[in-house]
Amino acid sequence: MGTIQPKVEAAGDELTLVHAAKAGDIGAFEELVKRYDRNVFRIAQHITQNREDAEDVVQDAFLKAYQNLANFQEQSKFYTWLVRIAVNEALMRLRRRRPERMVSLDEDIKTEEDSMPREVADWSPNPEQLYNQGELKEILGKTIQGLPPSFRTVFVLRDVEGLSTEETADALDLSIPAVKSRLLRARLQLRERLNKYFKNRTGGDGKP
């Protein structure tokens, strides 16, 4: 069975742009915005689950990055540093919107549907053949919304944005084992929840 390879953004002339932006070249900073605005928006929307908040996070994260460029030590990639800022902004918005619920990346949540798969069924035909793109997006959005913020944040950074485990740990200020543990549970919980939409209806159910 094949493995999953993360997609990697070309580093290109990123450091040159960062240096120019640090020297006050706003055009260079705009290039960095163009390079990563889609990613920051996607991450923000995954975490906040709210369009307006995601728009605000994009603006605030880039502005904050610009204002603090002098503090960027270049020990990590600019993108990892930017993601760290964006995640913090997104979590702050989420906390504001849901003050009654604790929102933290540190919590290592145990849930009733934790690790063991309860339902095992192959997905055939492929989900893309069962649903049109609009329906599929609705299912995927609804499903990931149900995960705890700490799980969906790790999932989106690792599996959607393609950050490495080390970069994800760095961006979220988590240990590598903590990233791996959350990622495993996020993946398994999403799989379990998607099962009800995608499972093969002609049989094959069972339990491991």
Binding site: M1, I26, K64, A121, D122, D159, L184, L188, G206, K207
Partner: protein
Amino acid sequence: MTCSDFLKELTDYLDDSMDAQTRAELEDHLQWCHNCYVVCNTTKMTIEIYRDSHLYELPDDLRTRLRSAIVSKCECHKKQVSDPLGQSDSPTAK
């Protein structure tokens, strides 16, 4: 290897970050355990489907609007920082 052992290693297996011996043990387990094979396969599909879904794409018009707002805020910040008289009013990061 039990199914529970297999699940613990699933993330490293899918990310191809393990030594050859552990990988061989997991693949041996997959040969005979249909349930783990299905869980592994559908978890891999879960990752791929999210990665390829284009969920939460930034529309072009919104993208242009956001970028122009960001640039204008950065320009405003730059002016305030370079103007010593305005320095005391310089906005701090939100």
